[in-house]
Symmetry: C2
Subunit: 371 residues, 2 copies
């Protein structure tokens, strides 16, 4: 079994993403953030230290357990802009949907169901608001809130001349959620050897890998209008809206399933399977089908399996970890929500690592230093 | 009494800020957001429609009233970058402080005290992390959280190559807060004729007007190193950290003062005095001292009094609205927190407008169409 990449691939670095530097900066910020933990909060509220490094934060106040998250889309909006320039097609509704999905899929990882989502649309010029893209973005955002069962509260939409490129938009969002009564926040403590791992299908790229996708497209004669084998254009395939996993997590919680953890598979790809800060091994015995568009990117960026699965979701957008015997029911609930899912592996005692058995790839704990 | 500007000044538009277009886009987004209000939320949570258009949103859940906000710094970080390039001085701690202040000063407007603040640092290249600026930014952010009595929860720090300019950082933040027991959220309903208006001093520019400041600096021979009459450099004066008003609002609430409303004076300047969506007249009989740096900007940008007070805070960073007779106590509490404040005016029955009597300037309700 070969080790995964100890550093990011050169191809990925060239795309402008240097995770080593960024992870070091994240650790500095995390240490400063941690130093505020001793602050005495109003109303006896307690910030859950267990939630540091998790995809969302947990606050206990007045008998409630709240989830809180701020997430961003990254550079995927640049793909929509490039497609619009090349073909006139407006894919900004997908971009709006993607941003909310990035936010709420992170929030449900800690077992909190979203209540309110706020928007951040930072454009580089007021000219960005010409044409249909803003209305599309807003409509996609709204639909994603509806699908997540959350109210769109408000937000900010500054124009940042000279800071954001004139024809681009920087998208992020924030959400508050609540852990249902009778359930515990999911911060990793409940994970145990023997737990079953369910991988839930992604719809394609989701929010991560957009820089790589743009780099690949630049080397094709037809660029984003390149036709994939299925006949779909590369651009349209890349802009398939992300899946939202909120309804599935809600169903799993309401069904009383013994859900021990959840992980949103985003940047760092399937290394995120070991997101929990636990010394445990995650043995993946079966992998989901790879969406055509991701297979295409991997081939054209010449990524090894370790690089591909260590950076992209490769068809696995979300992971559920359940007590032994519960995976089948979770897979059925996913199907009822229109999501393909599979019992893909098991949690074992052992060092912190992900073993992708079908590929002979191993990701060690040091390859996911998020915290 | 002359009317304020019906549109933004040409000088301000040239600085890249076209509020008319942006306000129209905001209204479109607000309508879409409003359409999600009927969604049934988990745990019987209720989103407060009264809080739409307010600086923060309010959610009632499990007997608690939560505040929720997402805010951004705007282009002020570009000033810090320009100063660093010109003189090597690192003012990024002020920038971090400013961003948190922008967030929590909005949050306390609805009467909620912050619990947790999350960070959004979007850079244009990993190279941004070279040098001291990231550590300074983090330290300023941390200090502002401490001053606000809030835990720094987490956040996101993406590198957005090609979207954000390579040497810039796009800063925003989000916060959850709680309305203290026995108090009501401040969404404007409690405002009444006869209420006293207290204006609390700003420290200078705060988060709004940075584009204008950069435009003014470009026309000076020494640019940001230009010396003001006091001897301070223009750059250092512009980068004076914002005041945080959290401790003051907490004191006012804990003191049991009849606080009816609060407004964070940001973009749109003193037009924000009529932030509440109420048909009321705000008569300002006295104005605070204008910080040297704002006076300098107004002079060099050749802004009329209406333009100046309609775009910049002009020394008034925050407004408190209290039942008759309570202003004196609020001013004393401000002084105890190191903030200069004054009983500046009164709320009256009448059309929605702000009257700046010392200047003979009137801002009508149509000049603040935020919602």
């Amino acid at each position: 079994m070969s080790d995964g990449p100890s550093t990011e691939s050169a191809a990925y670095r060239e795309a402008g993403v240097d995770y080593a530097t960024l992870d070091a900066a994240k650790r500095l910020a995390l240490a400063a953030a941690r130093s505020t933990s001793t602050i005495r909060l109003p109303h006896g509220a307690v910030f859950s230290e267990d939630s540091r490094g998790e995809p969302a934060q947990v606050i206990e106040v007045g008998g409630l357990r709240l989830g809180f998250v701020l997430e961003c889309l990254g550079t995927k909006s640049m793909l929509a802009r490039e497609i619009e320039e090349a073909s006139g097609q407006d894919h900004f509704a997908a971009i709006g949907y993607d941003t909310v999905a990035a936010v709420v899929n992170d929030l449900v990882c800690v077992g909190a169901l979203p209540l309110v989502v706020n928007a951040y649309f930072a454009t580089g010029s007021a000219g960005w608001y010409a044409g249909s893209r803003h209305a599309s973005l807003v409509e996609g955002w709204r639909r994603a809130c509806v699908d997540a069962g959350a109210v769109w509260g408000g937000g900010e939409s500054p124009t940042l001349s000279g800071l954001v490129a004139p024809d681009e938009v920087d998208l992020a969002g924030s959400a508050i959620g609540i852990v249902p009564e009778g359930r515990e926040p999911l911060c990793g403590a409940a994970l145990a050897p023997g737990d079953e791992i369910v991988l839930v299908a992604s719809s394609g790229l989701h929010a991560n890998g957009a820089s790589l996708a743009r780099q690949v497209a630049r080397h094709l004669p037809d660029r984003l209008e390149h036709r994939l084998a299925s006949g779909t254009s590369l651009g349209a395939a890349l802009l398939t809206p992300s899946h939202s996993y909120v309804a599935l997590v809600r169903a799993v919680l309401e069904d009383g399933l013994p859900l021990h953890y959840a992980s949103h598979i985003t940047g760092h790809g399937l290394r995120k399977v070991m997101r929990a800060q636990r010394e445990l091994t995650y043995r993946i015995e079966a992998l989901p089908e790879v969406p055509e568009v991701l297979g295409f990117l991997v081939e054209h960026a010449d990524l090894s399996p370790a690089e591909a699965y260590g950076t992209l979701n490769m068809g696995a957008g979300f992971a559920l970890y359940l007590a032994p015997g519960a995976a089948g029911r979770a897979v059925a609930l996913a199907a009822a929500h229109g999501l393909s899912a599979m019992r893909a592996g098991v949690v074992e005692a052992g060092p912190r690592q992900v073993l992708l058995e079908p590929l002979g790839v191993r990701f060690s704990g040091e390859q996911l230093e998020l915290a």
